[in-house]
Symmetry: C2
Subunit: 422 residues, 2 copies
Amino acid sequence: MARIVMKFGGTSVADIDRIRHAARHVKREFEAGHEVCVVVSAMAGVTNQLVAYCQSAAPLHDAREYDAVVSTGEQVTAGLMAIVLQDMGIPARSFSGWQVPIKTNDVHGSARITDIDATDLVARMGDGQVCVITGFQGISANNRITTLGRGGSDTSAVAVAAAVKADRCDIYTDVDGVYTTDPRIAPKARKVPRISFEEMLEMAALGAKVLQTRSVEVAMAQKVRLVVRSSFDDPDADQVVSDDPFYNGPGTIVCDEDEIMEKQIVSGVTLVKSEAKITLRGVEDHPGVAAAVFGALAKEQIVVDMIVQNVSDDGLTTDITFTLPDSEYEKAIKALDNAGDELSYQSISGSKGGAKVSVVGVGMRSHAGVASSMFKALADKGINIQLITTSEIKTSVLIDEEYAELAVRALHTYYGLDRKEA
Amino acid sequence: MARIVMKFGGTSVADIDRIRHAARHVKREFEAGHEVCVVVSAMAGVTNQLVAYCQSAAPLHDAREYDAVVSTGEQVTAGLMAIVLQDMGIPARSFSGWQVPIKTNDVHGSARITDIDATDLVARMGDGQVCVITGFQGISANNRITTLGRGGSDTSAVAVAAAVKADRCDIYTDVDGVYTTDPRIAPKARKVPRISFEEMLEMAALGAKVLQTRSVEVAMAQKVRLVVRSSFDDPDADQVVSDDPFYNGPGTIVCDEDEIMEKQIVSGVTLVKSEAKITLRGVEDHPGVAAAVFGALAKEQIVVDMIVQNVSDDGLTTDITFTLPDSEYEKAIKALDNAGDELSYQSISGSKGGAKVSVVGVGMRSHAGVASSMFKALADKGINIQLITTSEIKTSVLIDEEYAELAVRALHTYYGLDRKEA
């Protein structure tokens, strides 16, 4: 017997039929003797409608009222899921965030969970009841509803799993796991049976839109084993998630690195398109200069991505290059033009239409030469590299957007990630 | 300075534009220096959609989950109303039923309010804040959301008004007040400036769908003065509700009988169509026989309306006639057929397609002969009366449905209720 948290996203509960289908997954686990908590998102499209109402009511609106409005979507799904489960003969009841309670700070619209009192949930599961909990929301110390920001239901599920000390947290979504890369770009992409938290974090942050980054952070910190899997599967098929190190069951297990026997050098290739780059040449090279550059951008709410600073030739000035979404390009140029006295540079240049391609893998730590082999693989295809950044388990390059898909496929093949033909 | 509760129904908050229009009414009262609580319904159509979801999830569903689902409609409106008011520069915040809290019993789906803690609301109004409260819902002792049954937002508003000791409770709706009869039937119907609680109760129960009956009962018990008025009016027009006994301002004041100077003998004429009648002849005339008849019907959830029992000719048997909605006719006949030994009668007969026409007025108490004059007015038009029931301030007759509109117009004219031509 295990204790499982099962989370269903918006497309998995898009209408009553989909909720019923999701409930059959719950039934399978429940009837296998497991203790189950369910965490649900709003029905697909509902949150967007509620956000549009708030926007229409007033473009600048009180985040506390926004939270009161948009949190209703999950409440509807939770009630309906409980009804459907009961109809299948499974004792179930719904909980809104404030009923659990899921306590958060009071940063409305993007609150953080501070504490979950799981006493009641654990007792009810022990009595054979399924607890259906609204994702995405909580309650602040002054008794107001908060929301965790878009995609926050993943984080709710992980936090509930940590609070009830669940054996695992199953994230049901519209894909059947984490892939080595986007299958629409590389048809030979294959599902990864296991991936480490660190790799998943890099993959999530780099554009694999399977899990909300924050939820992976919480799972890693709280040691909550995640399974990313499809709610569209046949709920009655064999669905056992096992601890077998050569696991090849449903979904992808996201777990501690220690639990992964055969570490791939590279686990996945990710792509982010529409990246602009901006280069400041001849920036005075003294302490605080980077802070001046990126402070000017932060003031305009511009989030930058890659940052590269070269050693200067003369020891007096340096060049700084960074990337950001194409859509922010003009705004960023203007912000730097207006930065004034505190920021002195000789010239500013840049261009839109870049693509960031990255290879991710914990195996990089122990294998030298991943970066150089990556550059060679790209050079072999005649792809020019504009920028390079590296971290412990990731190497990213900025290239011309035209070559993006070619680069992804080339690297996917080069690192042996291609699915073997049947 | 007064303290006012303003309630807006579903059509008055049907979309963002209507919410904005309703908010202008709030602004008018707020800027006149009044303390204001607002009570809102769900946007028109939303509750029906949520009910349909529950039905679709399972025809027989847990009323507690139903309440969790359908209560979200009001939460959305309350948040949006607060946003719109803030956008107009009015300090406002929303409250769900559980946040106030509005405590109820645990009869989910048709709960009764047991207590409202108004401390926070009163303090906030004193600080110049408008409190926007969800109608229709509350919280039970075991921390679950309850709803008051359809139309319950009127009752919420009245209960909040009683709790905060409001000077009046304005019910904004899609008609501009209580009419002497349905203007679609009698074009000369006119708005009543004042009506007593008792009359309003009879009118509401008899088919004037302006106010939920329960809300009038609570208002009468708690001495909450109601004003029924239109949210579709120009919010900036002169809208002062006064205590002038010859008041002729916006809406209809529903108040204590003592506050009405000129009591009409008849204040209104009401109509309920599609009434079936069933007659049991030769029922054994002994104590408990009525209980046996209506117990058999109650067991099938059939609500009867008029009941007439005549003295028997022979002292041994009696005839009982009652009315009920046409749609329940066959079910009722079957229930009585199957009632078995406890109920003995010689024959059962009945027919569908009746209409109940009633005249209502507190003046009846002091004026003899209202009933007989009513019968004469109908006889003058050749309308046959099938059944008669009377109460202290009401006389009702059952007639053939074909004559329903003719009867309403005839009585409306006869009792001097017709609007004078301009």
